[in-house]
Symmetry: C2
Subunit: 192 residues, 2 copies
C-alpha cells in the first residue's frame, strides 16, 4: 500500500524537520513518486500530518498496552521501572516517538486544536489506566505509601516525560544516567 508508505515517510520527515520544515517534494522523492501523487492519497499537507499523528498515536498506544500486558504478573517495581528500559529499546531509531513529542509540544499553530483533540484522550487514557493499575496492585502488594493513586500516576508520568525528553534530545546514554539517578529516589518516595 503506497498510502501507508507515504504515511511512514511523513512521520520520519515531520519528526526531523517539523511541520513547516518538512517538504512534500522530499517525502515524495523518498517514497519514489512525484509530489502531486501524494494528493491521490491525502487531501494535502494538513491531512497528511493529522493522519500521521493519528497513526502514530494508535501504534504507540497498542505497543504500550502490550508491554503492560506482558508484565502483568510481575511485581510493581520491575513493572514500572521496566517500562523505562522497554521504552528506550523501542525508541531507538524510532522516529515515531520523536514525531509524537514534537507534535505534542510544538504543534503547527493552525492545527493546534485538532492536535489537542488527538492528544488529550491519549494522555487521559494513560493516566486512567495507570491509576487503576496502582490501585489494583496496592490491594495485593500494599507497598505504596500514599493512597492517592491518581497523584502517584501523574507523578510517574511526569518522571517518564522528564526522562523521555532527554532520550529524544541527547540519546540513550544520558537517558540511562538520568533514569538511574531519578528512579531510586522516586521509588523510595512512592513506597513505604
Amino acid at each position: 500500500m503506497k498510502a501507508n508508505l507515504i504515511l511512514q515517510t511523513a512521520v520520519s520527515h515531520f519528526a526531523k524537520e517539523g511541520y513547516a520544515g518538512a517538504s512534500l517534494s522530499k517525502i515524495a522523492e523518498e517514497v519514489g513518486i512525484k509530489k502531486p501523487s501524494i494528493y491521490a492519497h491525502y487531501k494535502g499537507k494538513d491531512d497528511l500530518f493529522i493522519s500521521a499523528l493519528h497513526y502514530s498515536l494508535d501504534t504507540q498506544k497498542a505497543q504500550i498496552a502490550s508491554y503492560f500486558y506482558s508484565m502483568k504478573n510481575e511485581p510493581l517495581e520491575p513493572l514500572l521501572f521496566g517500562y523505562f528500559e522497554w521504552f528506550a529499546k523501542e525508541s531507538q531509531d524510532n522516529e515515531r516517538m520523536k514525531f509524537i513529542l514534537r507534535a505534542a509540544y510544538f504543534p503547527p499553530l493552525k492545527l493546534e486544536k485538532e492536535v489537542g483533540n488527538l492528544f488529550n484522550p491519549f494522555f487521559d487514557n494513560m493516566h486512567l489506566h495507570l491509576t487503576r493499575l496502582l490501585r489494583e496492585r496496592h490491594r495485593h502488594e500494599k507497598v505504596l505509601y500514599s493512597d492517592d493513586f491518581s497523584d502517584m500516576a501523574l507523578a510517574y508520568l511526569t518522571v517518564t516525560e522528564g526522562t523521555m525528553t532527554e532520550l529524544v534530545y541527547t540519546g540513550v546514554e544520558r537517558y540511562n544516567k538520568r533514569l538511574h539517578a531519578v528512579w531510586p529516589i522516586f521509588w523510595r518516595g512512592l513506597t513505604k
Copy 2:
C-alpha cells in the same frame, strides 16, 4: 536599540513558529521595518537564530542565579520547591522559555551543532551548581537520604523538565497539578 528589538521579536516568533516556520518578513513587520533592514543588524536568519538563543540563555541563566541567590538563607525544601513556583510565575507569557525548550529539543538540523555548543555548557553548569548546593546544604541541614549529590541534582533536573514541558504545552493549571502530585513523592524520596 533596534537590533535588540529585532532580537526579542525573533525570540517570540521562533518560539511560536519554530525556525522553519518563522518568517523574516513578519518579524520585520512587527518591529516596524522592512525585511532587508534586518540584514543591517544580522548576517541572516541563522545568525539571528543563534543570537536569539545566546541572548535567551544568558538572560535565563542570570534569572535563575538571582532566584537561588535571593533564597540562599531559606531551608532546602522551600528553596527547591519554590523554584517551581517562581518558574511558573516567570514563565507566564514568557516566550523566551518556550523558545529555549524548542531550540533544545528540536533545533534546526543545520544548526544542530552550534545549538548544542550553547546548550551543553548551560545544562552542565546548572547540574554543577545544583550538586554543589546540595552538598553545601547537607553539611548543615543533614536532611538528605543519599550522599550522591550529583545523582540527586540530576534527578531534580529531570523533575523540573518533566513539569516544565507540561507548563509550556498545556499551561499553568496542569503544571500545578503535576507539581503538587510529584513534589511530595520526590521530596520524600530525597530525604531521611
